[in-house]
């Protein structure tokens, strides 16, 4: 009998997982948990990262790669393994297991769809910590696993301030893929940031129904520009089409994923870009020290300005952002870090003027992660 099984939460976790899976994973979990150190992942000699795409995609996966480089710099004695183009199916579990066999006791499974495989690997290897990026564990959280993500709508709120101050037509344009809660929160935060400095501003939305279809993005950008929009932003995986469409038309741009100011030397304002280094480094430190179990990372961890190390940061400013605006953005960022600061600090009205968040209410990160309405000032329909 292992020490860990005396912890009721762990027993419940294993029990639930076994009941859910109805497979043999249960026996292997009890067997191997008897050996090794007490704390999963403690003093691991290696860390593994798996990504769903190539490490040079100028987007999500490149950000992971750069974060893994930061880990390598911070822990010179640690071996950092990286597997690219790992599909979101069972082969992800095989890849992770191979890394574990090669000595890794900490795995970062970085794509949304890697969660099932990550939980499976965590269950089969109780002495290994497997953390997953961006998804949410809805069952009981095993003590050697967890999810983590940032709150991208916070920097989008700040970018909205830059856009709201810079627009002359009071029309901002937002090209997005699908009306998922994360995107809805981004759009709403962008509009509310813009409203904080420009009450008349509206954000017009166009969906492309695709994470990357440059042809549709171009059509969306053209339509928005034709409607008089003079600042374009987006939530797409590939971002260069919309940025260049804005630049060609003499409009301004707020970026996403990566600093693309080289594509828009005239119209670049700022954008929400990734910096995973501090979060990854802190997770590695926590695990190496043997402090993972019961830590914030042994949970569905959501980090924002309030908790200090948001992996989404503001890209460098372009020429169209005034000193005054930069000061306003810095004030707002400080405010977002306080208890009463939030892009969605009540009152928040929806498109029909109904109160969605009461005055004085500060929604939690978890509540924001489930957002399903557009705020007043956003133009567009949520496909139901």
């Amino acid at each position: 009998m292992s020490v860990r099984q005396s912890t009721p939460r762990w027993a419940v976790g294993v029990g639930l997982a076994c009941a859910a899976l109805v497979v043999a994973g249960c026996s292997s979990a009890t067997e191997s948990s008897g050996s090794g150190s007490d704390e999963p992942g403690k003093d691991t000699p290696a860390v593994g990262f798996i990504t769903v795409g190539p490490k040079d995609d100028f987007g999500y996966n490149q950000a992971v790669y750069e974060g893994s480089q930061a880990v390598e710099d911070a822990f010179p004695d640690l071996e950092v393994m990286l597997a690219e183009n790992v599909p979101e199916d069972d082969s992800a579990a095989t890849t992770m297991q191979r890394m574990i066999d090669d000595g890794a006791k900490l795995i970062f499974a970085t794509s949304y769809g890697h969660l099932d495989a990550a939980l499976k690997v965590a269950e089969e290897n109780p002495d290994v910590v497997v953390v997953q990026q961006g998804n949410t564990i809805t069952t009981d959280i095993p003590e050697n696993s967890g999810t983590y993500f940032g709150t991208v709508y916070e920097p989008m709120y700040l970018a909205g301030i830059a856009a709201g101050a810079a627009t002359e037509s009071d029309k901002l344009g937002y090209v997005y893929a699908f009306p998922i809660p994360q995107t809805i929160a981004n759009i709403n935060a962008f509009e509310r940031g813009a409203q904080s400095v420009n009450p008349d501003v509206e954000t017009i939305t166009v969906s492309t129904s695709s994470w990357c279809d440059p042809g549709k993005q171009q059509a969306a950008a053209e339509s928005l520009l034709a409607e008089g929009v003079d600042v374009l932003t987006q939530h797409q995986d590939c971002t260069s089409t919309v940025i260049q469409a804005a630049e060609k038309a003499g409009a301004m741009t707020v970026g996403y994923h990566a600093d693309a100011s080289e594509l828009a030397p005239e119209g670049w304002l700022t954008g929400a870009v990734w910096d995973w280094g501090p979060v990854y480094t802190d997770i590695v430190q926590t695990v190496v020290d043997g402090d993972f179990v019961g830590s914030g990372y042994n949970d569905n961890f959501r980090v924002g300005y309030k908790t200090g190390t948001n992996p989404f940061v503001l890209a460098p400013y372009g020429p169209g952002v005034s000193e005054e605006t930069i000061a306003a953005i810095e004030d707002a960022q400080a405010w977002l870090g306080t208890e009463e600061g939030s892009p969605f600090a009540g009152p928040v009205l929806d498109q029909d003027g109904e109160v969605e968040i009461e005055e004085g209410v500060i929604p939690t990160y978890a509540e924001n992660d489930a957002m399903d309405f557009f705020v007043q000032g956003v133009v567009g329909n949520l496909a139901q």
Binding site: P54, D56, D57, F58, G59, G173, I204, T205, V206, S207, T208, S209, S210, C212, D213, P214, G215, K216, Q217, Q218, A219, A220, E222, S223, L224, A226, E227, V229, C238, T239, S240, T241, Q244, A245, K248, A258, A260, E262, L263, V379, G380, N381, A383, Q384
Partner: protein, 306 residues
């Protein structure tokens, strides 16, 4: 800008890549070869033009490279079906998947790289016309080249000796043989020419329209082009109109959304495909009778003559 002008202008710019590919496929099918790899030729054309555009900084050199890449893939299709007797459907689809794989592999380094693309050339005087100006004369030069392409292809196909030979290869291949011409040469030439045009369509998409390379960025436009050829009854002029109509159907969604029309987005996404089905249904009978005879054999699974 009014909704009408916005949609028409978006239809012309967004439909141009489909038009190039459709006119190319018309030439190919007129000679009796259907090329489902058109989508693949567009893909290699898009990447070829983009990569060479990035390396040389000259979009025209990029277009030449894209045209060559699209033509090379189609040449392979021509060789396989004409000389090796491969199934036209199987060969076309195989080459599409080959193109998907190759462009994903070799295109990875060009994702997110900036390219010197085509700029907008506003045609003096004409671009100032109401409605027609923004719809037709405020675009890029590769799009204008498309205006010249259609009458040229029509003229070559229907008014020249070489066009007659190509069409004969598609209608009565055995009579070509009787007169001492090579049916194989006509067909391989026509398929390759079709691939060159599809490659130029891909080049327009990547370096003039979207200014980006991303894997699978053609996203079905090649298949729309093949369908278009059938409902345009193998006429370059109707392909032109059909391609712009498709472009308008694609542009309608964003244009309505940007004006906050209360229409379900997923319904709008389906418009281009509903349109295809509707047109095919309406034109079905007429299409069958207009089909090149040798092409009918392909569908009926009979061996080609000649």
């Amino acid at each position: 800008m009014s909704l009408f002008v916005d949609v028409l202008s978006g239809g012309v710019s967004g439909g141009t890549s489909i038009m190039y590919a459709g006119v190319g496929e018309t030439v190919s099918e007129r000679a009796g070869v259907i090329n489902l790899g058109t989508e693949g030729s567009m893909l290699v054309g898009a990447l070829g033009s983009y990569a060479v555009g990035v390396e040389t900084g000259n979009p025209w050199v990029g277009v030449l490279a894209g045209a060559a890449a699209g033509g090379a893939l189609a040449l392979l299709h021509g060789y396989l079906v004409v000389r090796r007797g491969a199934s036209q459907f199987a060969s076309g689809l195989s080459l599409l998947f080959l193109a998907l794989g190759l462009t994903s592999l070799f295109g990875a380094t060009y994702v997110g790289q900036p390219v010197v693309g085509f700029d907008t050339w506003e045609i003096p005087l004409l671009s100032d016309l109401p409605v027609l100006g923004p719809v037709l004369f405020q675009h890029d030069p590769l799009l204008y080249l498309g205006y010249v392409l259609v009458p040229t292809v029509w003229f070559v196909l229907f008014k020249t000796r070489i066009g007659l030979l190509v069409r004969t290869a598609g209608e009565r291949a055995d009579s070509l043989t009787v007169h001492g011409y090579s049916v194989d040469a006509m067909r391989i030439g026509a398929v390759t020419a079709g691939g060159v045009l599809a490659g130029m369509g891909g080049a327009h998409l990547a370096t003039a329209y979207a200014n980006a390379w991303f894997e699978n960025m053609v996203a079905g436009r090649g298949f729309i082009a093949v369908a278009l050829v059938i409902f345009a009854t193998w006429s370059p002029w109707r392909v032109l109109g059909g391609a712009y109509l498709f472009g308008c159907a694609i542009a309608l969604g964003p244009a309505l959304q940007a004006r906050a029309f209360e229409i379900n987005q997923f319904l709008l996404d389906a418009v281009p495909f509903v349109l295809t089905l509707a047109v095919l249904t309406v034109l079905g009978k007429r299409t069958l009778s207009a089909s090149p005879a040798e092409l009918k054999r392909v569908f009926e699974n009979a061996p080609p003559s000649g």
